[in-house]
Amino acid sequence: MTNQTRQRSTPASGSSAQTGADSSNVLQNARANTNLLFATAAKNFEAMSQGDSREFVEKSRQTGGQ
């Protein structure tokens, strides 16, 4: 586990593009440490478009429960 959560906690820009080159060393270290969880779990993810993710997130809106 790295401390990336804090290092990638960028200001509230809301734009993924704005943070693309902000932490290349961190990203390289993370790649070196990877144990392929993401590759194992999200095997179908890479085929998705950004629109697919957006539709999923929008559709996931729920009525409040208990």
Partner: protein, 556 residues
């Protein structure tokens, strides 16, 4: 300190799922209403409910329902309960969420197995419901607790307590008990959190936090569950039959209470599920026995909960009433010390089945948390696995950050019940999670009830009766329309959650030739029933005779 006041820590769960339809066009339209109904329509249970029995007009079998106008009619909070002949549990709809209620179990290990079994039943319903949808549409089912857009839904557990202990803690507000439980729960998120990206409900934004429910816990003690949710829920609903009128009655309804815990996240990781209920069994036993003093109480439990949830580095220390400052892990280690002391002096085993295994795994997990051995905990704790997974995703995709839609999607899909996209299921299949129950135990609970609680007799009765005659089912009773012309009804009582076990009633089922003789045999072993007119309030004592139940052809 009174060990005699303790009761076995029976467990149940009632867990709402996220459900919606994708591929349905018009992305702004909410689909949880339709999705939950379509899922429930695929669940086999009693009493039989037909579409016209529900609260709206809906085409159960046509995907046109999600396109065309739908009459949203009345939206009762909880309806369509279907008790399951397969395992004695129940599935229904609560506020547009399919809700899975486990049958009563006695051990944390059984609960972990049963929870996986209930998820498989939900998956079966999902597969069947999706077959009825038009091409390109499918129902997504998520075992999580918020939609990341400000709405939360619960994963509740219930624990059997003595009526005296419950009254002392909840009704009489015995402060040490209440504050011990608050401190324990708030700090236990370090192993019970499922983790989520961001914050909700007005809390300050963080990239990732430990608990999905923490942002929605707003008060210390309350009967509420849908608004202003409390750390400790005061719902007094024992589900143990009626109380006697006398002051010192001996009915189950006099002896037992049910602590309804609405605080926890829903877990996928088997170890997290196991520890969530198992350690709570230990803590409640110590509270019940009056063993814990108030030295572990937090000064501000809600502040501690929110601060600890927003701190996945596990560094933040919060102030106790004693003046000490402790991290969540340090506080948990103190509770562990207390449990070790209780075990050495009195022993848990009479009240908590498998207590030694629970304590050992709790301790090992806390020590790993203490040493920040996160890679050693990925296979046990959902939030740690999810965080590692999302950090890898960020490393692979430098154009993303924690606010990216893709991260929210991956966060949500972690808990999908569909093995084609569910991240937890993929990692479990690849061997990344430690198991608690064996595959035969889990598969067994898909088709059979627990043998050591009343759930066994409930399931067997549901199998034995004519489904058309089942009028009403609840956790502590089954009401049936009689097959005589008098329009009477028979109520079979199951008030004792610890009674009516397989060993108590199996011969009644195997040796009875018809339903009347079954009721008589059950009566002989303490499962009572009675008949009454629909309009009468008087209950006459069994025996009944002369009934014909054509479905009475099951093996036990």
């Amino acid at each position: 300190m009174s060990r005699q006041s303790c009761v076995p820590k029976l467990i149940g769960g009632d867990v709402e799922l996220g459900n919606f339809i994708i591929g349905a066009g018009n992305s702004s339209k909410m689909t949880d209403y339709e999705a939950s109904r379509l899922l429930l329509s695929q669940v086999e249970g009693l009493p039989i409910q037909r579409p016209q029995d529900y609260d709206y007009a809906f085409d159960w079998h046509s995907s046109a329902a999600v396109n065309g106008p739908v009459n949203h009619g009345g939206q009762s909070q909880d309806f369509g309960r279907r008790y399951l002949p397969c395992n004695g549990g129940c599935i229904y709809i609560d506020l547009n969420h399919l809700e899975l209620a486990t049958p009563e179990v006695l051990s944390a290990r059984d609960y972990a197995a049963m929870w996986e079994a209930m998820l498989r039943l939900a998956r079966q319903a999902q597969l069947a419901a999706n077959q009825n949808l038009a091409d390109g549409k499918r129902i997504v089912v998520l075992a999580n607790n918020s939609d990341r857009q400000g709405k939360s839904y619960g994963g509740h557990q219930s624990f059997l307590m003595s009526r005296t202990a419950w009254d002392n803690m909840i009704r009489l507000r015995m402060i040490p008990s209440l504050f011990n439980l608050m401190a324990f729960q708030a700090s236990s998120i370090v192993f019970t959190g499922q983790g989520k990206v961001g914050s909700e409900n007005g809390q300050p934004w963080v990239p990732f936090q430990i608990s999905q429910r923490a942002d929605f816990i707003e008060t210390l003690l309350s009967v509420e569950t849908t608004v202003n949710r409390p750390l400790i829920n005061s719902r007094d609903e024992p589900l143990s039959g009626p109380k006697s009128r006398g002051k010192d009655g001996q009915l189950p309804g006099d002896r037992y209470a049910r602590l309804h815990v609405i605080f926890y996240d829903t877990n996928l990781a088997p170890v997290a599920t196991y520890l969530k209920v198992g350690v709570m069994q230990l803590i409640l036993t110590m509270i019940e026995a009056g063993f814990l003093d108030d030295s572990l109480a937090l000064e501000k439990p809600l502040d501690a909960l929110h601060a600890w949830s927003h701190d996945p580095e596990l560094d933040v220390r919060m102030r106790l009433l004693s003046g000490q400052q402790m991290s969540a892990v340090e506080l948990q280690l103190k509770f562990l010390e207390q449990a070790r002391a209780f075990d050495a002096r009195y022993g848990f085993e009479e009240f908590v089945e498998g207590a030694q295994q629970i304590i050992a795994l709790w301790e090992d997990t806390l020590l790993k948390l203490q040493s920040r051995d996160m890679s050693g905990l990925q296979g046990r704790i959902d939030w740690i696995m999810k965080r590692a997974l999302l950090e890898e995703a960020l490393a692979e995709h430098p154009q993303w950050d924690w606010r990216s839609t893709e991260l929210t999607y991956l966060d949500q899909i972690y808990s999908s019940l569909d093995p084609d996209d569910g991240l937890f299921l993929a990692l479990q299949a690849a061997g990344h999670f430690e198991a608690i129950a064996s595959e035969p135990e889990i598969a067994g609970f898909v088709s059979e009830p627990p043998a050591n609680t009343r759930a066994w007799t409930r399931a067997m009765l549901l199998r034995a009766v004519d489904p058309e005659q089942v009028q009403h089912v609840d956790w502590d009773r089954i009401v049936m329309r009689c097959a005589d012309p008098g329009r009477r009804q028979t109520q079979i009582e199951l008030p004792n959650p610890l009674g009516a076990t397989r060993s108590a009633t199996r011969h009644a089922f195997s040796d009875s030739a018809d339903f009347a003789s079954l009721l008589q045999r059950l009566h002989e072993v303490g499962v009572t029933s009675g008949t009454t007119d629909y309009v009468s309030t008087g209950m006459t004592v069994y025996p009944l005779q002369g009934y014909h139940y054509p479905f009475f052809n099951h093996s036990y």
